[in-house]
Symmetry: C2
Subunit: 226 residues, 2 copies
């Protein structure tokens, strides 16, 4: 089972790695990291880099298309090469998996019209404006499209998808392999429960500061062709 994880400049690393840590352990998984250019793709913090060792032209079709989010989504919304890649892969995919505001990329590619999805708390309005119905869930399935809330929700959504693909025992085995029995020190049930002053900080950060900060900083490493 081919799993194609999209990387782009300024992605959020946990968006990509949370679901990878789950789906990559499915017994038949063959994961590839795909980007417009084969190099080390820099994350939003500019200190993290992941190897993209396939480019768009090398991936004709896939079983699972996996699109993470991050501040780097915004420039990609205007990158027709990325949108066309998503459209093309989605056409024949068995599953399309969108994490965080990566769901906005799916929407911009035009594949969410009339679909119901979830997304990052601060991307809800933008995703809805692109024609999708947005629900406030940790993860959500509509046909072959599985979407998740922000960043770490990719783990929960991928376990849900792993159960759909391989059954409950396999999904539970993966859950144990990554010891996902979370007990965060602050136990709000959802982002909507977080006190408003903290929500305001993150709203402002996600709407402008993160992209500015990312653009102002250079990746801390070389980016040779791979």
């Amino acid at each position: 089972m081919r799993i194609s994880i999209l990387l782009f400049d300024g992605f959020t690393m946990l968006d990509a790695v949370g679901g990878y840590a789950v789906l990559g352990w499915l017994p038949t998984a063959e994961v590839e990291f795909v980007a417009e250019r084969k190099t080390i793709i820099a994350d939003d913090l500019r200190s993290g880099g992941m190897a993209a060792w396939r480019d768009y032209s090398e991936v004709e079709a896939t079983d699972i298309l996996y699109v993470p989010g991050g501040p780097g989504v915004e420039p990609q919304l205007a990158n027709e090469a990325t949108l066309a890649f998503i459209r093309r892969l989605h056409e024949a995919s068995t599953w399309t998996f969108g994490v965080c505001n990566g769901v906005e990329l799916l929407a911009a590619a035009g594949i969410l019209a009339g679909k119901t999805v979830t997304t990052n708390i601060n991307a809800r309005a933008d995703v809805a404006a692109l024609g999708a119905t947005v629900v406030n869930s940790r993860y959500h399935r509509d046909g072959k499209i599985v979407t998740t809330a922000g960043v770490s929700a990719g783990i929960d959504g991928a376990l849900f998808l792993a159960r759909l693909i391989a059954g409950e025992d396999t999904a539970k085995t993966i859950q144990l392999g990554i010891e996902y029995y979370p007990a965060p020190p602050f136990s709000y049930a959802s982002p909507d429960e977080v006190p408003e002053p903290i929500r305001e900080v993150i709203r402002i950060a996600e709407e402008s500061l993160l992209l500015d900060r990312m653009n102002a900083a250079q990746p801390r490493f070389l980016q040779p062709s791979l």
Copy 2:
């Protein structure tokens, strides 16, 4: 605040990225990824690669030493260069953070004698044999040493550490930024609650199969010097 995340061949990517996604957003964080050689370090699944852009000789001292785990820990237990690096960085670190069986590396480096720690469910006996007292917690602090259970527990432990470093409001803001309000589809409270047949599968996998599988596969990408 300098945060040095150790990478080595066969690390588990979520071990490194879970805590990075938290600590990297501390206001004064300056994260570096360090390995014995500056290149793209391949993870346990061989499809994931992260850029290590500092080598051991370039990191004289750090504020937070961060050691992830993975099947690749076992060969590192006999790598004196890695053990010496851990010993040296720990000496002057403000915090030393060990995730999953990365805690075994800390123990092998000789810095856990008489300390109380947690670790991956299947590394408990090995860590105890190296002189540490092991508790079955999601995360645990003993002085400047913070350790966590397996893989995804690095997120919880890093939020705990973020609160110690920067206070509750900052830690809660990071929690919202990564939307860590987990709701996994299977809600066991801890790995000890998982049915025995599933625990047996993971025990066997972690004790032998994962390392064999990793050694049998080549990284899927080039590993140029960085």
